[in-house]
Amino acid sequence: MAEQKEHQNGIPRIGFYICHCGSNIASIIDVEDVRKYVATLPGVVVSRDYKYMCSDPGQELIAQDIREHKLERLVVSACSPNLHEETFRNAAAKGGLNSFYFQMVNIREHASWVHEDKAAATRKAKDLARAAVYRVRFHQALEKRKVPVDPNVLVVGGGIAGIHAALTLANAGKKVTLVEREATIGGHMALFDKTFPTMDCAACILTPKMSAVKSHPNITLWTYSEVEKVEGYVGNYKVSVKRKPRYVNEDLCVGCMACIDACVFKEPKFPDKFNQGLGKRKPVYIDFPQATPKVVLIDPATCIQMKTGKCKKSCADACDRKAFDFNQQPELKEIQVGTIVLATGFKTYDAKRDALYGYGRYPGVFTALEIERLVNASGPTLGDVVLRDGRHPKAVGIIHCVGSRDEKTNKWCSRVCCMYSLKLAHLIKEHSGAEVYNFYIDMRTPGKGYEEFYDKLLAEGVHFIRGRVAEVTDWAMTPEEQGKLVLRVEDTLAGFVRRIPVDMVVLATGMEAQADAGEVRHKFNIGCGSEGFFQERHPKLAPVNTFTDGIFIAGACQGPRDIPDTVAQAGAAAAEALVLIDAGHVELEPNTAHVVEEECCGCKSCVPLCPYSAITLDEAKKKAVINEVLCKGCGTCVAACPSGSIRQNLFEDDEIFSEIEGVLAQ
């Protein structure tokens, strides 16, 4: 249905379109009524409704009307402009209209989906439409700015996500810099022995990828490094990276580890971070034999030379390649890239926060990551599952959902811990023959082969008790509990409370955002959700994009996920970066500000307000000028210019005032 009218003098000819979005909009908003109403507004010469405006026929309808009815302005009432503004701008262009003679009205996300009262929602839709109709009169023809995209890419974080993204990009012929904070890449996956559900050996699938990163001609690998500062915009980022000193020249060291043997400390003495503190290391160390790059480093906190300057330095002497340099300084590198993939991963929940589970108090309580190292054939015990006092556990309890699904700590389900708890149950049983109890609230095994894996564990005779454990205690009520850790839990399927004595307790700690996620996201100017993980642009349709163009996210930094999902996402992020690089340029919103020279009095009020230093004072003319390449269109200066001498494309005062008037007119 449509309403058509003849030209109205003085006011541009406006076409109005309202979308049903199937029933998404039409079931709440009386689309017909809005259409009729808008037809009565000044300037509106066409007013139509349509089932799916964004569909091809919907867009074609617009293009045709523009030609046929000589439309000069376009208003579409549909979903969020974040979704389809671009679609309809294109439709306008197809009809031969400048795409910025268009205004979008959001009556789905902001009305039909959030209101139940049909009359009120319809009234709101009319108000919003009227605002746009008033506003669009003042729109001006604009062009998007085109800027070239630098083909080089930065990948931050060298876990499986970063590794996979870097390799994909490098294989496509792009130059990649991979920046990893730790001394080796590999991330969490490098800690595991086996991975669910197929139980392949983690090292067997990870280490080849790690060495490929090191040897790839298109990849520059900077480990032990962190991004300090990011400037610029999509296609043109300038990044400063700090390379921390290893006190060993990375180019000279070949990783023979002769120095480690030669260290004045005959025995490893200091807690080994890589092994979750379960093993010991020397001041000169390498995280694990397959570390990439295979280069040793010195821990300045424990090295005698670094602390006192008075060591024999037997390590340095033992090095044929003269790789030691105790005076190495941090180095600041600057690189130029067009796109960035963030793959900074996750951290596990701090088990000490759940005081009742006794982690840190009872030596028999372990975190899952510690167990990953214990069951690892190349771990500190070479795969022997032993308690801290050397005993072998006869019974092991694995507590699920520690730091997950709990409003006191983290609300979300960490998605991987049910599965890895099954994996650990299997491995513990296999390595030690102990009785294993899994305490779960709900068993979550959605994935290819996952339920089958659970089935296998059931068959293996692992106990599954449905209930959240209330506490772990060493306090015995019966003789059989003496010397054990007792778990108190309601067996909710049986309907009574049980006390179960075990020797070893494993806490399946959940996944959390990295501790510094908040700072990192500031550096890259992206968002974090309330749980602290990086915020994707759209949970379904743009899961690896962020709200900052040219910056993509992959892996567990976006939310809890397992390795298969992480790798899929890393591939997607690489592909998104490639899209930009192959297009060669990006188009920027023309929403920049400019100073009208003859109006400006040179008061400089605007100059300090610009976050991008885009405004300067032309010393000769004593007038402010805005560098439109630097301006990102926030409009702060526009609002502040006391004489109204700054204009902003798409957000002119006239446009906003008329929108205010329109939204309130009755």
Binding site: E598, E599, C600, C601, G602, C603, K604, S605, C606, V607, P608, L609, L617, K622, T636, A639, A640, C641, P642, S643, G644, S645, D653, F657
Partner: protein, 321 residues
């Protein structure tokens, strides 16, 4: 009737300053008087309302009206002159924006009358008598103009062609306006007859204004020793210069006093006070609400400061009650 242009001057709620400004034209006034016929000028000559009423409509070439519109009488005169004149020039800050009298828009009429006739210090009025719009005295009916609830700018009462800004307008601007009117080279209706940029442009102190004001405190002129060279805003004084139309040649800053905004805003700005707030307060130092508030405390009377001459033209027009 002579062929010379017929000119009227009228005053509404005015302090007399605008009249003085006309007289201040000095010898130029003679040129003006020579060139025109003055048909109404209450401050200088005696005319009767009936004379004006008797004139044909549009027979006055131009009427200069100054002062805010405060009473029914002023309103009536304004309408009368509108009807009789081809061009009306709103003259001075009061006519343009309500001026000082419009500060009364912060109070209810009732409260004002009560204060003036009952509560004010020095008032001795035990009977609480108040002037009445109409009263009987010895069998005659006496009438007085009625005080309106709202103080208005001239253009809130009648249509106006041009505006001469300033409290009062400077002789230079007045002369320029008169010449333009006489020559018939008229700008578009609604024009304010002074340059359409802000005052800093004309201010001798402009170069000393730092890029980043970063104000951490506001002062009032009596609280500091004012540096005669340096930008006043940079000294923590509320100088309305950046939000005020130029044309006065920065006489106040030149006299070591901050601009108080009598020329009103530029043509791009609807609300001078709001815009001033937006510019100057965006640039203060603190980031926390509490600390910000501490800085803002340095401006004890925001309305009187930002709308000293313009409360009638504030988008909200007056205090609600």
């Amino acid at each position: 009737m002579s062929a010379k242009p017929q000119v009227a001057f009228y005053w509404c709620a005015s302090c007399g300053g605008c009249e003085e400004a006309v007289v201040d034209l000095a010898e130029d006034i003679l040129k003006v008087v020579e060139a025109v016929d003055i048909v109404l000028w209450p401050v200088a000559m005696d005319f009767k309302k009936a004379d004006i009423e008797a004139r044909p409509d549009k027979s006055i070439t131009v009427a200069f009206i100054n002062g805010a519109v405060r009473t029914s009488e002023q309103e009536e005169w304004a309408r009368l002159l509108r009807r009789k004149s081809q061009v009306v020039v709103s003259f001075g800050a009061c006519a343009n924006m309500g001026g000082i009298p419009a500060l009364a828009n912060q109070f209810r009429r009732e409260d004002l009358l009560k204060y003036i006739y009952e509560d004010g210090p020095g008032v001795d009025n035990p009977a609480k008598t108040r002037p009445q719009a109409s009263s009987q005295d010895e069998g005659r009916t006496l009438s007085l103009p009625e005080l309106r609830n709202v103080v208005r700018s001239l253009d809130q009462v009648i249509d106006v062609e041009f505006y001469l800004p300033g409290c009062p307008p400077t002789p230079k601007l007045i002369m320029a306006a008169v010449q333009a009117l006489l020559s018939g080279q008229l700008p578009p209706k609604g024009t304010v007859l002074s340059p359409d940029h802000a005052l800093c442009e004309e201010c001798a102190r402009k170069d000393s204004k730092p890029v980043d004001l970063a104000l951490a405190a506001f002062k009032r002129p009596h609280q500091i020793q004012i540096d005669p060279e340096k930008c006043l805003l940079a000294q923590g004084l509320v100088c309305m210069g950046p939000a005020t139309r130029a044309g006065c040649e920065a006489v106040c800053p030149a006299g070591n006093m901050p601009c108080t905004g009598c020329f009103g805003p530029s043509s791009r700005v609807k609300d001078q006070g709001a815009k001033f707030i937006s510019s100057v307060f965006s640039n203060i130092v603190p980031k926390e609400a509490k600390e910000i508030d501490a800085v803002l405390d340095g401006v004890p009377d925001p309305i009187g400061t930002f709308y000293r001459y313009g409360l009638s033209k504030c988008i909200l027009r007056r205090k609600l009650n």
